[in-house]
Assembly symmetry: C2
Homo-oligomer: 233 residues x 2
């Protein structure tokens, strides 16, 4: 069962509990099977996401094949070395201790793709923002991630890869873009603190620093409280 740092009277599917419990998992996969009804709910959650022009431009490739996963794992670790090569000193030392994937230990790899032609030619809401379809795919990924968390699964988004490699590996057509390689499966627990913070790689930023009033950089003297005050008139 996932560790729960929140009040125990919450249901396992309480939105706020799930939102704050969710982690990017690399090291806690057990490899146990995902029950069919659970996978069904997780994919259903992804598919219920909003999308520009109701285009639903996502697809989900479920990868269990050992050979595909090993090939991807090898590729990812080659890309890890590329990134490591750009670091020096203390950053390099820290990065060496950080685990970046659970490809081989997780129960399932789930590749999420974007089809720019879905719902076309004229996708309502996309003529001025070409990336709006790509944004929709990400909304589906977050739904999937939250649903998986609620179901006691961990999710790890691996992004140490080149898109053409994944396209070749899974026979994805040239006009379809792989957006995410997700590792999915039951976990021993979810960490309270994100891995990259535990390893001293990055620190979370206070929300107050991210909130602006009316225009970029404009922060009322009272800070965030004042911002809230304005919006609750």
């Amino acid at each position: 069962m996932p560790t729960d740092s929140h009040p125990t009277n919450l249901r396992p599917t309480d939105l706020y509990d799930v939102l704050h419990r969710r982690r990017d998992v690399r090291g806690q996969f057990t490899g146990a099977p995902i029950p069919a009804d659970v996978l069904d709910r997780v994919l259903g959650a992804a598919h219920a996401a909003p999308s520009v022009g109701l285009s639903q431009p996502w697809d989900f490739i479920l990868v269990t094949d050992e050979r595909s996963r090993r090939a991807f794992h090898t590729h990812v670790h080659r890309e890890r070395a590329v990134f490591a090569g750009a670091l020096a000193g203390e950053r390099a030392a820290r990065f060496a201790r950080i685990r970046i994937d659970g490809i081989l230990e997780s129960s399932l790899s789930l590749v999420v793709t974007y089809d720019p032609h879905r719902g076309g030619p004229a996708v309502l809401g996309r003529h001025a923002i070409a990336d709006a379809g790509l944004y929709s795919v990400c909304l589906a990924i977050e739904n999937l991630w939250l649903s998986a968390t609620a179901e006691g699964l961990g999710v790890g988004w691996v992004s140490f890869y080149r898109e053409p490699f994944v396209r070749d590996l899974l026979a994805i057509p040239a006009d379809i873009r792989p957006v995410a390689w997700l590792c999915l499966g039951p976990v021993t627990h979810l960490e309270h603190v994100p891995d990259l913070e535990r390893h001293g790689w990055a620190r979370r930023r206070p929300l107050a620093d991210a909130v602006h009033a009316e225009r970029w950089g404009a922060m009322p003297s009272g800070g965030r409280d004042a911002v809230r005050g304005r919006c609750s008139r």
Copy 2:
């Protein structure tokens, strides 16, 4: 209170209830104020999203100013005309009946941006996928959307705009990218069926069509059930 098509014994913050109740809202805003604690939880939900390299590259600009919102509204309706000009016949007639925004009626406009320099220069997990930071911003937007839905607010994502216009309007620096203009606020209700489906613009696609096994286009003869069977071994 939002209309609820799901079992009434669910808590208002049940994840699955919220996921399936969520809508892209244009026409049901009441304009009533957003209580400070509610806005706080909604922004907190966004800020709890996963991000590549724990970079948290998002910012939130809260826009209540009447002049900014009117200027944006005028711009959006100019872009609406651009899109309408590309349609003909029955598509044009259908589009003419579809409402695309609630900019002036909603309680708050919330602009979400992407800062590619946040957490840099070497963002862990972004060296091979330049868009990974942009993806993180979208994950935050979906968290925000779900939290708002749980709180009885509607959210409408307006994408009929040119990014340079929004950048100028809100003094957003050249290297920061506006990703979404969201309209937010209490609503009379949430529709059961997405607007674009109600108006016959688009139909939702069956999930089974979006699920592939092992590689693109490979669907076991048993379809989705068989896919599920494989993953629950």
